[in-house]
Amino acid sequence: MKAQKMNRREMLRLMALTGAGLATAAYVAPVAASQSHTFEAPNVAPPSAEKVSLRLMVMDYDENMKPDTQAVVDAFNASQDEIELKLEVVSWGQGHDILVTQISGGHPPDLCNVSAQWLGEWDAIGEVLPLDDLLSKEFLANFQPSSIKAFTNKKGQLVGMPYFLDPRAMFYRKDLFDAKGLNPPETWDDVIAAGKALHNPPDMIGYGQTFSAKSDALDYWWYAWFGVIGGDGNLSIWKEDGRSRLAEPEAIEATQWCVDLTQKYKITNEDYTTAGRDEELQPLFYAGKLSMLITGCWFPTLLKKNAPDLVYGLTMPPVKKAGMKPATGFWPDAMIIFKQTKYPKHAAKVLEFLFNKENRLAFAKQRGVIPERIDVGMDPEYAVSDIEKFFVKSLETAHNVYETPWPETYYQTLQLGFEVEVARAVAGEITAEEACKTSAAMIDAANGF
């Protein structure tokens, strides 16, 4: 017994001593790191005759992202002899964590394409460089005003360039709808009628939806919300004073619609709490086992590759009642410059090159994404098919889900809080009203009300 007591004391003492030593070490290091970056003069002149080396990190949208972007980077490096641009390609699923680690370690890339959600997070802690002084008015005049507005922060600074705009639409199996004489799913009643006629598991699922905090959070709830509010209404989920609108009757109605699709009409997939839109729902559509799915403008490109023979139609997300103006939204990505960069002016040069007409036209065609440059959108080389025309038109009125100014707590409160509550409501654990009211209270509390 005695021996054991001694041991414990010794161990504690050892731990305390090491702990104290480490504590000092651990505090000194980050402080030193943050100081060095605060006091560094911006835009240090590069050592003479040497090229400035800049890092461009891109998150991949598809397998060709690396070769396509490498070609742009090579063209840039060949076009001037001042800057050496280096490309790093990162998988979307890992991008956020890598950037967090690099920002926190004092080593972020100079430029990177990020989700507007992340942009909000890092702009709030002053890690994103405002672009207003770096880019000329003439250059910015080339872009859709709404796309520029989407990345203007609370202080009125432009903090990112629109890189990937992805309005959403309803994809439905036109062949099956025509065979049964069904209306295109433009209203909720259409969806119910079509779902009842076509849903026949496991051979055919009527309507696809998921609330699993995967992909873009909460998108299937947003589609219901678009349907309730309509294109003429106020699509913001925030009140003027910054409180959440989730407890309002419209939000409860939207949630109830998601619940009813599964619980009352029983026309959805069964894995609505775990499925990923990209991992399971889209493949289900390729397999010809899903008759209605709302997803983004990248989907036609994928359909062409995965299921070239599938006959499908496109409409706006369905509205609650016939006669309402439909609405849609987009979850945009931006190209940003990190504030920790040593060469802001050089980074801005890269930005101007990446966003010239030629490169953006190529990007729009490669990714099937909707152009943010006005001249690209009007270029005869771009809008050739009806699908592309449809999405270009829908972008004019699409709602930016992250909004401007976006609340800094978007991710935390909406994704982890509300989405779980909606999932529980759809699974029948709680009512739609409970889900909305609990979440609204939680979000308001998190925002300091």
């Binding site: 956020h96 967090v100 069964e270």
Partner: protein, 315 residues
């Protein structure tokens, strides 16, 4: 038999002295050979391990920004938030079931496998190669493959069950909270069996063959041979491997995350995936660090108790 466990608990050479630093200093002069042997590993820890561990601990007691940097001293703030968290109790229970369930199953399933593979039979080499496959595959990707296998429509599992006429239902394995939790534990066990079996095999091979000779002369049967001779010989390696496996299971991330991300509604989360959500998704890094620290404290106590219980069992 549990040599290490025993020695940790009471090391007479050490407990006789009062101040550990003074005694280390004294011994360094008299008997420096063991310290020399430790130097390479100590240097490695100083360079790469100590700072990250310390900064995690400090983060637990600090206010942090959205990229995980400690901004100012926050005392117990993070722990208070953690205790108030609506899901933390469920997460704790789930973690306990996940860790102890998966480790116990792994041990129970691996030992017979090791005994079988330790024999000579045609195709033994192939069997060992197959055994290694789950270990040799990148875990994150094989867990994603499992998720695909478990899917109700696209998955191979329902296809196999339907073809063999076991059931005609298309079961959504990962959508039901209980079923999903079982699946997650299953894949965790699947991924740990090769390691555990290899360790048991190494243990079996290090049993000197002559201990069986005497038994054979006494006419002991196979069961007694296993129970009275093989098992005690394996005990040392089992204690070490199990202890480490438990500690590792507490940090197991690459099974749950690719498979379910904790869905449906946090029912398949363990402490690490929840911690990841707190830190990297909710951006409450401080709370994440606090959860890591709480787990650490638990594991430290657990390890000490574990070794002590073993000691008292030995008498």
């Amino acid at each position: 038999m549990t040599a290490i466990a025993e020695e940790i608990v009471s090391d007479p050479a050490l407990s006789a002295r009062g101040n550990i630093w003074r005694s280390i200093a004294r011994e360094l002069k008299e008997n420096h050979f063991p310290y020399l042997l430790l130097i390479p590993s100590i240097l490695c820890f100083i360079a790469l391990v100590i700072y990250p561990l310390a900064s995690t601990i400090i983060g637990a007691f600090s206010k942090t920004d959205t990229v995980g940097r400690a901004v100012e001293f926050g005392a117990l703030l993070n722990f208070r938030e953690l205790v108030r968290d609506r899901y933390i109790l469920n997460i704790t229970i789930q973690t306990a079931i996940f860790v102890f369930g998966s480790v116990a199953l792994t041990v129970v399933l691996s030992l017979p496998l090791a005994l079988i593979l330790n024999q000579r039979f045609p195709g033994a080499a192939l069997a060992r190669a197959l055994l290694l496959m789950p270990w040799a595959a990148p875990l994150a990707i094989s867990a994603m493959t499992w998720r695909w296998i478990f899917h109700d429509q696209l998955g191979a599992l329902n296809y196999v069950l339907n073809t063999l006429n076991i059931t005609q239902a298309r079961i959504a394995w990962l959508s039901d909270p209980v079923l999903a939790f079982i699946c997650v534990i299953f894949v965790e066990v699947w991924s740990s069996i090769p390691f555990m079996t290899i360790m048991f095999l190494a243990g079996l091979q290090s049993i000197p063959p002559h201990i069986y000779d005497a038994a054979k002369m006494d006419g002991a049967n196979a069961w007694h041979e296993f129970w009275d001779m093989t098992l005690p010989q394996l005990k040392r390696i089992t204690t070490i491997v199990t202890l480490l496996s438990i500690i590792w299971a507490f940090r197991s991330f690459n099974v749950i995350w690719p498979m379910t991300q904790g869905n449906p509604f946090f029912r398949t989360d363990n402490s690490v995936t929840y911690l990841y959500k707190l830190a990297f998704r909710s951006l409450s890094f401080g709370e994440g660090y606090a959860l890591a620290f709480a787990t650490f404290v638990f594991l430290l106590i657990f390890s000490v108790v574990y070794t002590r219980v073993l000691r008292s069992e030995e008498g």
